[in-house]
């Protein structure tokens, strides 16, 4: 396990990665972190500052200067702003005399030279002589290399009393199978489930659990990054965030040191999930969205089904990332402090919008849903695109193609959407047996969601086409919509059980207004949505994440926003 942690530490970058981990580790070790990396740029050479006792030693002020990877000659003093020696000089000459909080003025100080890997021999003499020269009665030096940090991680975060051996094994298996992401994620899911399934009676234990989640996903991500295949990390980060939310729910809105730490950690997990998603989309997907068939071809399909399944999956992922970016912008607006962050967030959101549009144009398989549950990805994509009214025309043409194609293929008994979900069944779809079509189209959420958007945005032709499909092709089909129920809060995030209620036989044969009235009346009647913790505390993308990840329909409540804008 130690080797795994060392590999992981060595791969971490300095900013927002190694320093973020260190902060959590120090907190877990019982130290009070009074200067955090997230608060902005480093303060006169100090990346993290903490106070407390480590392993029974007298209490000290620990000042960390953090470098990523191995520490070599080029990191010592090569004229770069991030070099170690100038940072140490700044700590001694500026930070300690002028910036150290008054309450620690008389406490001993240990300056910790922190790096994720090893110290190379070429710089050893420089460091030792610097330490000898600047060591005083009050100021001492220590080296926190990969070895030492991994020891502390094992001791404070992953020791057997905290994380049982079977979890270690699952993590190792998950890492070993990174090139087969589905298998890797299967092991990882078991690991996460075993952490989150525990009954936590103490807040401290709960904090430890989500720190473990955070650490595990970080380890997986760093290994994925090395392997140049972040698929497992992508899925694992979604699982981690959803399970972490399940664990932290009791602390939401609570004051207190532990609760605050818990909230900070879930925020860190969310940020990490965003980072992984951004990494995946920005590096692997978005560069190809504007090239004809590039993504379709990248799926290296055995057959058209592979292309179809993967493209809708990716569509859902970009749409969800877009919704997170939109949410982030909404969160920023009241403060409106940092124009740069706002501009960058806007840029990212717009990039997601244009990527979705390009992706659909250049990968026409996205006009042909095969599976009912692809309605989830379609709903996410439209919900995101529709945040900008300029996209309505585009949404219309996409849905028009989709509905037209579905109608034609229903008539011709070709690959029409069905509610089969198993790969081997979909391979053989459609069949010519009598009654087959009726059997695999007994229920639909796809058409009702499209009809809802059509009614909301005034796409009369599409609404009428769906009425025609229902009337002529699918009279037997139960057009339905799904709503959360009183058990949803318990099961939504970790998908621990079936939950929710289905509104059957939505009245597609009626006028658009009557159709919408009934759908949104049910939203009014059903208060369970508002009671979902993610909604109550303003983290609505968590619900959409759970819907995408666990393949649950998007609650129609999310579509209500478009009712008021039209």
């Amino acid at each position: 396990m130690k080797l795994i942690i060392r590999e992981y530490l060595a791969s971490l970058r300095e900013r927002n990665e190694l320093d973020a981990l260190l902060q959590d580790l120090l907190s877990q070790m019982g130290l009070e972190v009074f200067s955090k990396p997230s608060t902005g740029s480093r303060q006169y050479g100090v990346d993290i500052a903490a106070f407390g006792s480590i392993q029974g030693e007298p209490k000290k002020v620990y000042l960390f200067s953090v470098k990523s990877g191995n520490l070599g000659r080029s990191d010592w003093n090569s004229g770069q702003i991030q070099d170690l020696q100038p940072s140490l000089d700044e700590i001694i000459n500026t930070y300690i005399p002028t910036h150290l909080p008054t309450k620690y003025k008389n406490d001993p100080i240990e300056i910790c030279i922190c790096f994720g890997g090893d110290m190379k021999e070429e710089v050893r003499l420089n460091v030792t002589s610097y330490e000898n020269t600047h060591t005083t009665e009050r100021i001492s030096f220590s080296e926190w290399g990969g070895e030492k940090i991994s020891d502390y991680i094992e001791q404070y975060l992953l020791k057997e009393e905290l994380l049982p051996e079977n979890c270690h094994r699952l993590l190792r298996k998950s890492l070993a199978m990174l090139d087969e992401p589905d298998i890797s994620v299967k092991h990882y899911r078991q690991l996460i489930e075993s952490i989150s399934a525990k009954e936590y009676t103490k807040d401290k234990d709960r904090l430890t659990a989500i720190r473990q989640l955070y650490l595990c996903i970080w380890i997986l991500y760093s290994w994925c990054r090395e392997a140049d295949n972040v698929e497992a990390a992508f899925q694992a980060s979604e699982i981690s965030l959803l399970h972490a939310w399940q664990i932290v729910k009791p602390h939401l809105g609570k004051e207190g040191k532990t609760s605050q730490s818990i909230l900070q950690t879930i925020n860190a997990i969310r940020a990490l999930q965003t980072q992984i998603s951004l990494d995946f989309l920005q590096q692997k997907i978005i560069p190809h969205t504007n090239n004809l068939y590039a993504l379709s071809s990248a799926t290296r399909p055995s057959c058209h089904l592979d292309t179809n399944l993967k493209l809708f999956d990716i569509l859902g992922r970009i749409a969800l990332a877009g919704i997170w970016s939109h949410w982030y912008l909404q969160m920023l607006q009241p403060n409106n402090l940092d124009e740069d962050i706002k501009a960058k967030s806007l840029q990212i959101r717009d990039q997601y919008i244009s990527s979705i549009k390009q992706m659909i144009i250049n990968n026409p398989a996205l006009n042909w849903p095969y599976k009912e549950d692809q309605a989830i990805d379609i709903t996410l994509a439209i919900s995101f695109l529709a945040t900008d009214k300029n996209n309505h025309h585009y949404i219309h043409s996409w849905l028009f193609n989709m509905v037209n194609g579905s109608e034609d293929f229903l008539k011709q008994n070709k690959c029409y959407p069905c509610h089969l979900s198993k790969y081997h069944e979909l391979l053989e779809h459609p069949q010519n047996e009598e009654g087959y079509k009726e059997k695999v189209t007994q229920g639909s959420i796809l058409y009702p969601y499209i009809a809802t958007f059509a009614a909301l945005f005034g796409f009369d032709d599409i609404y009428e086409q769906i009425q025609k499909i229902k009337r002529e092709q699918l009279p037997h089909c139960n057009f339905q919509l799904w709503y959360p129920d009183e058990t949803s809060e318990e099961h939504y995030y970790a998908n621990t059980d079936v939950h929710g209620a289905t509104l059957c036989d939505v009245p597609i044969d009626e006028s658009q207004q009557s159709f919408l009235d009934l759908i949104f009346k049910e939203c009014e009647e059903n208060k369970n949505f508002e009671n979902l913790s993610a909604i109550t505390f303003g983290f609505y993308p968590i619900i959409l994440l759970a819907s995408r990840h666990h393949r649950l329909p998007v609650p129609p409540h999310f579509l209500k926003q478009f009712l008021t804008t039209e």
């Binding site: 295949n229 972040v230 190809h288 068939y293 993504l295 990248a298 026409p364 690959c415």
Partner: protein
């Protein structure tokens, strides 16, 4: 008396005469002429009643071959003396035993010769036949033909008389005989015959009679071309009836007669458009007839064929151009006709003709057909005609991409400038994208000889494709998007199952698999066998090297990347602007 004769007499007495003569006839060392002589002699001297013996011949006995044995009687029959009625009964029996076999009627000619040897025989047979009409066996025609050989005028006159008989069976058989009598260029007799035929169809319709009229009148027309017009008139009357039997006779005339006068060809083709898809024999005859017309390579004939094909294909959805195999091959071998038909049918705005063009081009040979637009067919000043044709070619020839591209490129030179770019777009997407192998190879091979208009367009398309391909290669490095190992395994199993099923299906109808015995070799790439001529010897060693056979097919990449969309585009291209 020779030994053979003795054996034959003994066998007749023993009741195995037929087996004996079959055995004798089958042995190569025996002179068959000798056997004939012996049989004639034994019969005419009253030692064996051959007619009686052959009356015992059955099509079920395994001790001899029915047809081979019956064949022995054919040269013997004209030279024996026997009562005409018993011979007739024997012949009737032997023809009846033969059933529907193509060789059933080979005994008729010797029977005619037998009757022609003595006028009484013909008279006797005719009289019996007129008194007792046998529904299944026509003995009237042979009797008339035999009689006409001896006394043409009398029998021609008798036949004409019978052709107006109140019994339709007798009338039909007489009409049949009219067509088969050798008139010895006697124009008066021929004119009388044609008049009799004309008269026979003036009354009520009878399917069999009318069909016979068609055949007989055409025979008379062969005797005397002056009668062409009258025969054509008869054809016109008869072919108003689209009865299966009549159409079948019409098809056999078209298929097997040479130098049919043009008016008659037109009448035949006109009527034959009503052929039903289930009448495979009729369609086969039509195929032969059309091939002959095409072989003449004359504009009028070619047009007649094209018009016929269009009519029949538009009329009957269950008839396909692929049923006219000879015609298809003839068209394919003649680039001018092929291009003319393809252009005409793509322009027709009729989906069935588009489909027929597609079937025509999808020939069974591996070599792709290179097509070119027939410019004479292009209407002048018609907007979007070139783009329309390019779309049709792409839609209908999508699975013959080189044919599609060759046709589309041939449009470029004359296409208006504003349509060229759109046409080039079709070459790029979906054709080149779908077939990066064959289409790219074709485009590159075309480049050195391309026209000034074509060359830059082809270059641009190839360059664009290379950029496209580079982008695909970059994207394919995204390992995150590869299907899971579970899905890959499921697909592999599915494909293996599908392959096995289609292999089994193919083997069911495979002639080859019925001819050979299969042996599975588990290891190695040679088979060693010892062939023994007798059980005692070790045998000759034979070593057989295994040969590998492979067939590669370029599956359009669109089938993977955008299966539904590709099909949708194809359908749109096929049906866009069609009126039916």
């Amino acid at each position: 008396m020779s030994n053979i004769k003795k054996q034959l007499i003994a066998s007749s007495k023993a009741g195995n005469f037929l087996v004996k003569i079959f055995t004798f006839y089958s042995q190569e060392k025996n002179d068959q002429k000798d056997l004939e002589k012996h049989l004639i002699d034994l019969h005419n001297t009253g030692k064996i009643n051959i007619i009686k013996e052959f009356h015992k011949l059955k099509n079920i006995d395994e001790a001899y071959n029915f047809f081979k044995t019956r064949e022995i009687l054919e040269p013997v029959l004209p030279k024996i003396s026997a009562p005409a009625n018993t011979v007739m009964e024997c012949v009737k029996h032997l023809i009846s035993e033969a059933g529907n076999d193509m060789a059933a009627d080979t005994l008729i000619a010797p029977f005619i010769e037998f009757m022609a040897a003595d006028e009484k025989r013909a008279d006797e047979v005719l009289n019996i036949s007129l008194e007792e009409i046998d529904e299944k066996f026509d003995s009237i025609t042979p009797a008339i033909l035999a009689g006409a050989k001896l006394n043409l005028k009398v029998y021609a006159s008798k036949t004409i008389e019978l052709s107006q008989h109140s019994n339709i069976q007798i009338q039909t058989r007489a009409i049949h005989a009219i067509g088969r009598i050798d008139y010895n260029k006697d124009n008066d007799l021929i004119v009388n015959a044609i008049t009799a035929i004309e008269s026979s169809i003036s009354n009520n319709f009878n399917e069999l009679l009318f069909a016979t009229v068609l055949r007989s009148s055409y025979s008379l027309c062969n005797h005397n071309s002056v009668l062409d017009k009258r025969v054509a008139k008869i054809f016109k009357t008869v072919l108003k009836n689209h009865n299966d039997h009549i159409l079948h006779i019409a098809s056999s005339i078209l298929g097997f007669e040479n130098n049919i006068p043009n008016p008659i060809v037109k009448l035949l083709l006109g009527a034959l458009t009503h052929t039903k898809p289930q009448n495979k024999g009729t369609l086969l005859h039509i195929d032969c007839g059309l091939k002959k017309l095409l072989e003449k390579n004359q504009a009028k004939e070619i047009d007649n064929v094209i018009i016929f094909l269009e009519k029949i294909l538009l009329k009957e959805s269950n008839i396909s151009i692929t049923q006219f195999i000879s015609v298809q091959q003839e068209i394919i071998c003649n680039a001018k006709i092929l291009n003319k038909i393809v252009t005409k049918w793509l322009l027709s705005k009729k989906s069935r003709l588009g489909k027929a063009a597609s079937d025509l081009v999808s020939n069974i040979s591996q070599q792709p057909l290179h097509l070119s637009v027939d410019r004479k067919k292009l209407p002048k000043l018609d907007n979007d005609t070139y783009l329309f044709l390019a779309k049709k070619a792409c839609g209908w020839f999508f699975f013959q991409p080189v044919s599609a591209v060759s046709f589309i490129l041939s449009l470029l030179d004359k296409a208006p400038e504003n349509e060229r770019q759109k046409i080039a777009e079709i070459v790029f997407n979906p054709l080149l994208i779908s077939y990066p192998g064959s289409v790219k190879e074709y485009l590159e091979s075309m480049l050195p000889n391309a026209s000034k208009i074509q060359a830059p367009i082809i270059s641009t398309v190839i360059k664009r494709f290379e950029n496209y391909h580079n982008e695909l290669e970059k994207a394919q490095k995204t390992r995150e998007l590869i299907p899971s190992v579970a899905h890959r395994e499921i697909y592999h199993r599915y494909r293996t199952r599908m392959m096995e099923q289609s292999m089994q299906e193919a083997e069911k109808d495979s002639l080859f698999s019925h001819l050979v015995t299969k042996k599975l070799i588990l290891y190695g790439n040679k088979a060693i066998n010892y062939f023994k001529l007798n059980p005692e010897e070790i045998g000759n060693r034979q070593e057989m090297e295994l040969q590998s056979h492979s067939l590669s097919v370029e599956v359009p990449t669109m089938e993977y990347l955008n299966s539904n969309g590709s099909e949708y585009i194809r359908l749109n291209f096929q049906l866009e602007g069609c009126t039916s």
